[in-house]
């Protein structure tokens, strides 16, 4: 199998995603702080948090099994592996058969499952509650995400993200099919849910009534917590990268050499910045939904994705 992206480039892209993940979180926090007329912490704050956590010792619940300390490592590994499947600087299929969008969604789901299992394993009440809520939301989010992927994959004839992005070429909004608009609308509805943000989840609080994802991290400490946080940063940028690959493949340059790579990186950064600003704006302008209103909110995304798929097929 010949591809446009050699293994070295894929590994470079994966590293780039992991390294830039916390920066995206920091940027979103900064934009939110400015919108609330606060100075806010610097954009590098997530890195400082991570290094602080990695230096600390670990405290573990007595009830936790031996499996517990493995959880953060496994979650991080699954998320980083998912990062290898997203085209960053250049479109086109990778030189080695890695996997497609389905594997990406599967790896993210695996990370989510492991997080929930870890939360249950520690035996804390909040962890269990967070896990049960997360597992209530997940079945509503993941199928819709898959349908959005399918609605673009049907047109391109492949589910491999790099090939899909290359197939769409450097076209801009004018070349969007009608189904793309609805698929993108569904994606925008899903994005806060998938990245664990308002109106579905609140990443800033440890209050037991509002949290989903944070509740599951309560029992982790030290380097384990650091791994979990790095995993959630990476998950966020991977999801944003998925959106960019599906709907705005304008950036990834075909030109080889250093200029092509730099151009691709710049375009990718611009796309991620736009999506991050969108997330920050949504978080600043909406209140968190009650848990029982979340299905109705996600229902809008579901209907949009289904109609997008119907538009492609019918």
């Amino acid at each position: 199998m010949t591809g446009d992206r050699p293994l070295g480039l894929v590994l470079l892209e994966m590293t780039l995603l992991v390294v830039l993940g916390p920066l995206v979180t920091g940027t979103i926090q900064k934009i939110k702080a400015r919108l609330q007329c606060r100075q806010g912490a610097g954009v590098l704050q997530p890195y400082r948090d991570l290094t602080k956590l990695l230096r600390k010792g670990t405290v573990q619940a007595d009830t936790a099994s031996d499996f517990f300390w493995l959880i953060p490592v496994l979650v991080l590994a699954a998320t980083v592996a998912a990062g290898a499947l997203v085209p960053v600087v250049r479109a086109g299929p990778p030189a080695v058969p890695l996997g497609d969008a389905l594997l990406l969604l599967g790896l993210l789901a695996l990370a989510r499952f492991l997080t929930a299992v870890g939360a249950l394993d520690a035996g804390g009440a909040f962890g269990g509650m967070g896990a049960s809520r997360e597992m209530t939301i997940a079945p509503l989010v993941e199928p819709v995400l898959m349908m959005v992927v399918f609605s673009t994959a049907v047109a391109a004839g492949t589910t491999e993200l790099g090939a899909l992005a290359a197939q769409r070429g450097t076209s801009w909004l004018l070349a969007w099919h009608a189904a793309d608009f609805l698929g993108f609308a569904a994606m925008l509805v899903l994005l806060p849910a998938e990245t664990g943000r308002i109106p579905v989840d609140n990443p800033d609080t440890h209050l037991e009534l509002t949290m989903l994802h944070e509740g599951m991290l309560l029992e982790h400490s030290g380097p384990g917590l650091g791994c979990m946080m790095l995993a959630s940063h990476t998950r966020q940028i991977v999801t944003l990268g998925l959106v960019a690959a599906l709907f705005f493949p304008v950036g990834p340059a075909d030109r080889a050499g250093a200029t092509g790579l730099l151009l691709g990186t710049g375009a990718f950064a611009a796309k991620i910045l736009v999506l991050a600003t969108f997330l920050a704006l949504v978080e600043s302008s909406y209140a968190k939904l009650r848990l029982f209103r979340v299905p109705q909110y996600l229902g809008v995304g579901f209907v949009c994705a289904l109609i997008a798929l119907a538009l492609r097929i019918l």
Binding site: L182, A185, R293, G299, V300, V303, I307, A308, A310, L311
Partner: protein
């Protein structure tokens, strides 16, 4: 503009129209439904402008302007005024849960696409997906009217339904006679005014909402 470009633009506008319709169906608060229907009317006006440039039909410009002025500005403003004046409950009161309405909406959209796919030989005469989108908008407007309790949200459903008919008429017939379109718009204005007057009047004299009167039935 070439015929293909027009078809693509109408298809894209159709997708956005469907999106606004889904927002209307899913809206939990009256204000959001009103804003969504205003956005929908704006898209209809844009579609009118596009079709006017492509077919060279001057009447379509008049219709697009009327849609922009009346349905995208005036009527939402009237609804807004009524909501403010009446101090009504801001939440939409559905007869069946909103999630169930959304599921029905999917069925309606898929069925209307399926129906117009079976048209066969007539199809090439129609611009893009305009017919199924128009049918879906009309039926979904009726669905909103049927599944809401308060008069205001039923009115929003009526506007959406009317938008659907308008879109179909514009895209399928390349513009109906001007007099008919103006007559239709006048009808809608009249319906909105009558609704506003009735809601305000009943509210001020009886101090009850129309929906509350249902509870008086034996």
């Amino acid at each position: 503009m070439s015929a293909e470009t027009v078809q693509t633009i109408i298809d894209d506008l159709g997708a956005l129209l469907l999106f606004t319709m889904i927002l209307i169906v899913a809206a939990g608060q009256i204000y959001r439904a009103i804003y969504a229907v205003a956005a929908q009317s704006l898209l209809i006006a844009i579609a009118g402008g596009v079709l006017a440039t492509s077919t060279g039909n001057k009447d379509l410009w008049v219709i697009a302007g009327l849609t922009l002025g009346v349905k995208a500005t005036l009527l939402p403003w009237v609804l807004h005024l009524v909501v403010q004046r009446m101090n009504v409950r801001r939440e939409v009161e559905p007869v069946i849960p909103v999630a169930a309405t959304l599921a029905l909406a999917v069925v309606v959209v898929v069925m209307s696409f399926h129906l117009s796919a079976s048209l066969g030989s007539v199809q090439p005469a129609i611009t893009g997906n305009a017919l199924p989108v128009g049918i879906a908008l009309t039926l979904l407007g009726v669905l909103v009217m049927a599944t809401r309790k308060t008069a205001l949200t039923q009115m929003v459903g009526l506007f959406a339904s009317e938008n659907g008919i308008f879109f179909t008429a514009m895209a399928v017939t390349q513009g109906m006679p001007l007099i008919i379109e103006i007559g239709v718009i006048l009808d809608v204005i009249l319906a909105a005014l009558v609704m506003a007057i009735i809601v305000l009047r009943v509210g001020s004299t009886v101090a009850a909402y129309i929906a509350d009167l249902d509870e008086l039935r034996g």
